[in-house]
Symmetry: D2
Subunit: 401 residues, 4 copies
C-alpha cells in the first residue's frame, strides 16, 4: 500500500511528467515480446513514418532513443558536431542552462547569451553575433523552444529569419521537450535541423523515450561530426533501419505500443486541435493568474507559454511552501521554482492529455493554497476568469456532437 | 479506439458507478485463478471478516453476491420473507420505487407510503401504521437509506426508535447502496436486520458485487422464509462457509481482489474519516448550488445527502440538456433526473474515492454548462462558495503531514 | 504481496475460470463510466448483435446478466416456466445435478433421469418418456451440453431429433456453460430454446456475465410463465432494449468492454477455427491419458469432451492429492473430482484462449505429479503421444503465414 | 487488434526480454507522478539500498540509468577510464563483440583476445598478458559474465584470482546483463569494480533500466577518468544522492515501481533460491538437447550457462527457419543465432520469472519444430529427459507447503 496515499486522484500539474490517458496505459500493460520477431519491426516502421508528423516534418528522420530529454540533447549534439565546435546558445532558465552545461562538458565552445530569466532569445544579439561570424566558425545555434523553468516560448520562425538574413550555414538545434505536440512546431518550415522531445511531456507517456528528428542537413553533418558516440549514434540506427530490424539494441516494447496509442489519440483529435486546446488552457491559466493579482514570470506576452506558467509570488512568501502545501493538503502537484527563481515562482504545467475541467480544478486548488499560505486571494476569482474565457471558447468534443 | 474519445479525463460525477482508484485497478488487472485452491478461500475469509466493518456491525453475517444492487434487494427479501408477507415501505424516488416494484412482483403485500419526491420517511405515518398493527402482520419495514434519485438521506436511528417504541418485531431491511462507506451507517446500533450495498458505489469498484449483511435475527428468519430462492439463497453460502470453501458457485476473482484493496484504502484513511470527507464534499456542493441560486431537490436540511445532490432547475430549462451538454462539451458526467423529476433535476454524485479538487473541477464545469444552457449563473460563484468552506475544513492528508 | 506466491506463471487448467488473454485484460483495465451516456448503449447494441453468433443463432435474443452460470440457469427456467411445470432432465454429473437441484427448489416437477456418471443422455429413455407424454405435460427438456464434472458431451442434435420424432412441443433448455465457443453449438439448427453460458469459460473472461440466448418460442413462453422473477426477468431487459438504453440496472462496464474484445478475438480467429482448436487439444489430451495407461471417466467415445477430460486414477491413489501436489510443487491448477467421483478423478480443463504448448506444458506437469504420487508413469510418454498428434495437425497461425 | 494475433499465450523463450510477472505489471500500470514530491525519492532511496544485494555487494554504489545495457556499458567505461587507456577484453560472441566495438569507438586502446565462439575466457592468456604488463598500462579488464550469443558463462572468481596473482591494479568491469539475478554473482567477493545489468533480463521487467554498481575503487577512478560524459555521468547522480532528490533528470516512475516489485519477488523467493531455480532449468534444458542428439554451442561443461542454451543444429538445417517456424506455428519465441553462428544455432532463453512447466512446454514446442523442419527427433524425448531431472529436483513452493 502506498505510504503517501491520499483519497481521490492526484491532480498532476507539474510541467512533466504529465497525466497518461487510459488508452495509453492499456496499451502499455503488456508482457515483453521478442523484438526480433515481425510485430516489433512492423510497429516501429509505422511509428517512424508517423513521428515526423508531430514535428510537422516530411523530410526529417526520426530516432526513438530509450533515454530521456537529457540523452536526446546529447544525441543531437554529438551526432552533428565535433569537439571544440562553436555553438551559440541562450541561457534563460534551468533547462537551457543545463543544456549549455552539457555542451561545455562535451567539449564544445559555447558562446552563451545570458538572458534575464523570464525573457526569451534576443534576436538582435543573435543577428549581431552571426553577422560578425564571417568565417562561419559557429557551427550550431542551440535553442530551447519552450523554457520550462520560466514559461518562455521562443519564436523559432524569427530565429530562422535571422539566420537566413545572415546567410549563416550553422545548424539549428532545438529542444522541443515541453513544446512538441502542444505548441505549434514546424520543423521543415522553420529550418530546424535537429528537433527533439521526451515521451513524458505533451505526448503523455511515461518517461523513457528521447525522440529526435534530424533534417537531411543534420544527417549530412554526421559524416564529419567527430564527437564520440555509441549509444546515441544515429548511424547505428540508420544501419538497422536499412536492415528492416530497426533496433541496434533492445527497445522498450511497452513504450512503443504506448507511443502508437499516444499518436493515435493525437491524430484522432487532430494535431492542430491539440495545439489549439493548449492555447486555450494556457490563456485561461494566465487569466486566472491575473485575477489573483500575481505576475507571470514571463516578461512579455510574445513569450507566453501555452504549456507552463511560472507564477511569481510576493517576496514574503516562499513558493516552495506553496508546492508542498498543495501536495500535502489538496493532492495537487505543482512545479517548484528552480535555481535562480527557486522560492520565487511556482509553476503550473498545463500540457498533455488534459481538459478544461481538470485545469479549473487545479486553479481552484491553487487559490486555496494561496489563501492557506497567507496571500490575500479572493477564492473563486481565478476560476471565474478562466471559466469565463473557456466557456466562450471550448469546442464541442468532435466525436460527441 | 474509443469512438466517443475526448481529450483529458472524464469527470465522473454520476451517483454511481464512481471513479475507481488506481490501486484497485491494479489489484483487478489479473488473470483468473482456480477458486478452489487455497488463495481464494483465504482471501474470502479475510473479506468476510472485514466487510461487516463497513456496516459497523460486529454481529452481522456478510454475503458477497456476484450481482448488482437489484439482486441484493432480491436476496434480502426472499431470504427473510414468505409470499404474501406484509411489508411497509416508503416510495420517495426512483430507487425506492423500483424496490417496491420488486417487492410486489415477488408477491409480497406491500403497504406503500408515498412520500413527495424530495422528502424522506414520515416517521409519524410509520408510527401510526405500526401502532395499528397489533397482530404484527407487518413482517418487514423496508427503507432506502439514501434515495439516489432525489438526494434524500433517511434517519435510520429515528426509524429504529419508532419501531422500538411500538415494540414491533418486524424486520428492518435497509438499502444502503448509495450510503454505505460514505454516510454513517450503524447496522448494529440501529437494529438493521439486512443491510446491503453495491460495489460500484462508495466502495469505488466496478459493478458486480451485491454486498449483503444479515443480522442474527435475519438469519433466524431464513428458517421460516418460504420465498423461492436459489441463486440468492443465503443458506447455500452458509453451507460453504462451514466447509471453508466459501463459494456455492464461481465468484469473480478480480472483484474479490479489488474489494480487498478497496477495503484496505478505506481502513487506511479510516472509515470515519471517509465519512467526514463525504460530509465536507456534500456540504460544499450544497453551498455551490445555493450560490447559483438553485434549489436542492431535497426539501429539508435533515434529509440532505452527502453522496448525491439533486439540483432543481427552472422550468424553462430541460435538465436532460444539461447532462448531455456537460458530457458533449466538458467531458463531465452528471446524473439525469429520473421518472417524476426527469427534466427537472440533474444530479451531482459526490461519493467514493474523490477529493476536493475533483469536486471543484466538477462544480466549475456545472457552472459553465448552466451558462451554456441559458441559466444566468455567475461563473465562479459556486466554486467560490464551495472553496471557501473547503479551504477552512479540509484536513492535511494524514500520510503526508 | 501474494502470500501464496510461486515463481513463474500459474498454469491454469481447471475447466473454468480459464486464462484471460492480454487484450481482454487491457480492455477491462479501465475506470467506470456513466452507463446512461451514449458509449455504453452503443457498445451494448453491438454486443447484442454479436452474441447470438457464438450460439450460431440468427433468431435468438441475447441477455447479458450480471451473474454467474447458476443465475443464468435460474433465468432460463423462471422466464419460460410456471411452478409445478414438469421438466425432464438428466443427472450425469455435479453440474447437471446442481441444475436439477435448482429446478426442484424453484418448485418445478422434475422427472430426473439418473445416468451413470461418465455416460450421457440415454436417447431411448427420453424417447420413451416423450412418447408416453401424450398430454404434453412435460413443458421442458433441460440438458447440460457438456457435463464439466465428467467430461461428457451430449449430442444435442440427436436429442432434438427425438423430440421432433415425438412431435413434442416441450421447450429445449440447454446449459452450454462449458461448451459454447469451444464445442460446436448450433442453437437454431438444433432447435434449442434457451442456451446459456458464463463469461469465465471458453469466452476467457472473468466471472460475472451469465449469457442467455432465447429463441422466439422461449420469448413467447415468457407470456404465460408464472414463475416469480425480477432480477432475472427478460421482460425488464426487453423493455430497455426498446428504449435503446439496454440496462434495467447497472451493468459491469469493464466486463462489457472485455466481452467486446473476447468476441473480437474469437471472430478474428474464426469461431469454427476456435472449435477446431478445441477438438485438437481435446484429442491430444486423451492421447496422453491413454499413453499414461489411465482411463477417461467418459465411457464412450461419442461423449468425449473437447473442453475437459476427467481422468480416472487407480483406487490406491486419492485424486485430491494429485490436484494439491500439482499446485504446491508445479504451480499447476487442475480440477478436482466432485461429489460421486471425488478422490477418483482429476480433471484437465482445456478450453478457452489456449494453445498447444500451454497444453503440453500442462501434460508434462501432470506426468510429474503422477510420478510424485506413486503412479508408475513413464515421464514424457503422454507428451510424446499428444505432440505426435499435434505436430501433424496444428495449422500455421493465420496472421503469421 | 494485434495484426499478428495468435490464440493462447506467446511462449517467450528468447534470452531477453523475458516474461514479466503479473505483480510487476500491476505495479507499473500507473499514472505518472511528480518525481520531486516525496514518494519518488523515498522509493528511490529504498531501491538504492536494495539493488546492491542482487550483485551481492555491500560496498557498491548503484546507479539506475534510464537506458539499456548498451548505455550501461558506456557508463561503466566513460566514468572510469580516459581516452587511449588500455583495456583487455575477450571476444567470444556477439555481445562481447559489441562491447569491444563500443570500447574502440569510445577511443580506448583495446587488446582484444579472440576466443572461439562457444568457449570462454582463456585464463592463461590473461595471465600472460597481465604478467607482461609490468608498467600497468592496462587500466581495465572487461569481461562479459554470460555471453548471451553462445551460452558461455565465464568464471569471474578465477579471473579475479589471475588478476590478484599478478598483483595487477586494473579495474575489473563486468557485463552481468544475462547473469545477474539468475547466475551467482558476487561482486564484492570477486573484486568486480563495475557490474551492470539490464531490467529486461533476469529481473523480468520491461527494457529501460541500465543498472550499474560501482565499487569504491571504481568511484575513485572517476576522479581521473577524462572520458567525456554527461547523460551517463555518475557524478551527477552522486550529487543528487547527496541532495536526497536522487535524480539529475526525469526517471521512469513506472519502472521504479516495477523494480520495487521485481526485487520484492526475488527477495521473497530468496536470491539463492532464484539462482538454484535457474541452475535446475539450465540443467534440464541441456538434458533435453542431449536427448535430441544435438550439440550445445558451449564447448565445455565449465562454461555451461544456466540462462541461455545455444543449440547447434546440423548443417543441412538453417536455424533461422526453426525460429521462424516456432513463432509461426506454435507461438513460441526462440532466439536466433547471431553473427558467426547465424543459421547455425538457435537459442533457448531460460531466465527470469519462469518455472518448470513453462520450460517443459517450450521444450515440447522445440521438439515439434525440429520435426517440422526435418530433424529426426523423437517427440517427447527431450521433455522426458528434462522432466526426469526436474521431477527429482524441483522443491515444493515455499509459500504453499
Amino acid at each position: 500500500m502506498d505510504p503517501f496515499y491520499g483519497p481521490g486522484r492526484n491532480q498532476l500539474f507539474v510541467p512533466g511528467p504529465v497525466n497518461i490517458p487510459e488508452p495509453v496505459l492499456h496499451a502499455m500493460n503488456r508482457n515483453n515480446e521478442d523484438y526480433r520477431a515481425p510485430p516489433v519491426p512492423a510497429l516501429t516502421k509505422k511509428l517512424l513514418a508517423d513521428v515526423p508528423k508531430i514535428f510537422k516534418s516530411t523530410t526529417g528522420t526520426p530516432f526513438l532513443f530509450p533515454t530521456t530529454g537529457t540523452g536526446a540533447w546529447e544525441s543531437a549534439l554529438t551526432n552533428t558536431l565535433s569537439p571544440r565546435d562553436r555553438i551559440i546558445s541562450f541561457e534563460m532558465g534551468q533547462f537551457s542552462l543545463l543544456w549549455i552545461d552539457q555542451m561545455k562538458r562535451l567539449n564544445f565552445d559555447v558562446d552563451v547569451v545570458h538572458c534575464e530569466w523570464g525573457t526569451g532569445v534576443d534576436l538582435e544579439i543573435l543577428r549581431t553575433k552571426l553577422e560578425a561570424d564571417k568565417e562561419h566558425k559557429v557551427k550550431a545555434i542551440c535553442c530551447v523552444h519552450n523554457e520550462t523553468a520560466t514559461g518562455v516560448t521562443n519564436n523559432l520562425a524569427a530565429i530562422r529569419t535571422v539566420i537566413d538574413d545572415c546567410m549563416h550555414p550553422a545548424l539549428f538545434l532545438v529542444d522541443g521537450v515541453s513544446s512538441v505536440c502542444a505548441i505549434d512546431f514546424r520543423m521543415d518550415e522553420w529550418g530546424v535541423d535537429v528537433a527533439l522531445t521526451g515521451s513524458q511531456k505533451a505526448l503523455s507517456l511515461p518517461t523513457g523515450l528521447g525522440i529526435v528528428c534530424a533534417s537531411p542537413k543534420a544527417l549530412e553533418a554526421t559524416k564529419t561530426a567527430k564527437s564520440l558516440r555509441v549509444f546515441f549514434d544515429w548511424n547505428d540506427y540508420l544501419k538497422f533501419y536499412k536492415l528492416g530490424t530497426y533496433w541496434p539494441y533492445t527497445p522498450s516494447i511497452q513504450l512503443l505500443y504506448g507511443l502508437r496509442t499516444a499518436l493515435d489519440l493525437i491524430f484522432l483529435e487532430g494535431l492542430d486541435n491539440v495545439i489549439a486546446r493548449h492555447t486555450r488552457l494556457g490563456r485561461a491559466t494566465r487569466l486566472a493568474v491575473e485575477a489573483w493579482g500575481l505576475k507571470n514570470c514571463t516578461q512579455r506576452e510574445e513569450w507566453y507559454s501555452d504549456t507552463v506558467t511560472a507564477v511569481v509570488i510576493p517576496p514574503y512568501i516562499d513558493s516552495t511552501e506553496i508546492v508542498k502545501r498543495a501536495w500535502k493538503r489538496y493532492n495537487l502537484s505543482l512545479g517548484l521554482g528552480l535555481n535562480k527563481v527557486a522560492g520565487k515562482v511556482f509553476r503550473i504545467g498545463h500540457l498533455g492529455n488534459l481538459n478544461e475541467l481538470q485545469l479549473l480544478g487545479c486553479l481552484s486548488g491553487v487559490e486555496m493554497v494561496l489563501k492557506d499560505i497567507g496571500y490575500p486571494v479572493k477564492l473563486g476569482s481565478g476560476v471565474a476568469a478562466a471559466a469565463a474565457y473557456l466557456q466562450m471558447t471550448t469546442p464541442l468534443i468532435a466525436s460527441r456532437v
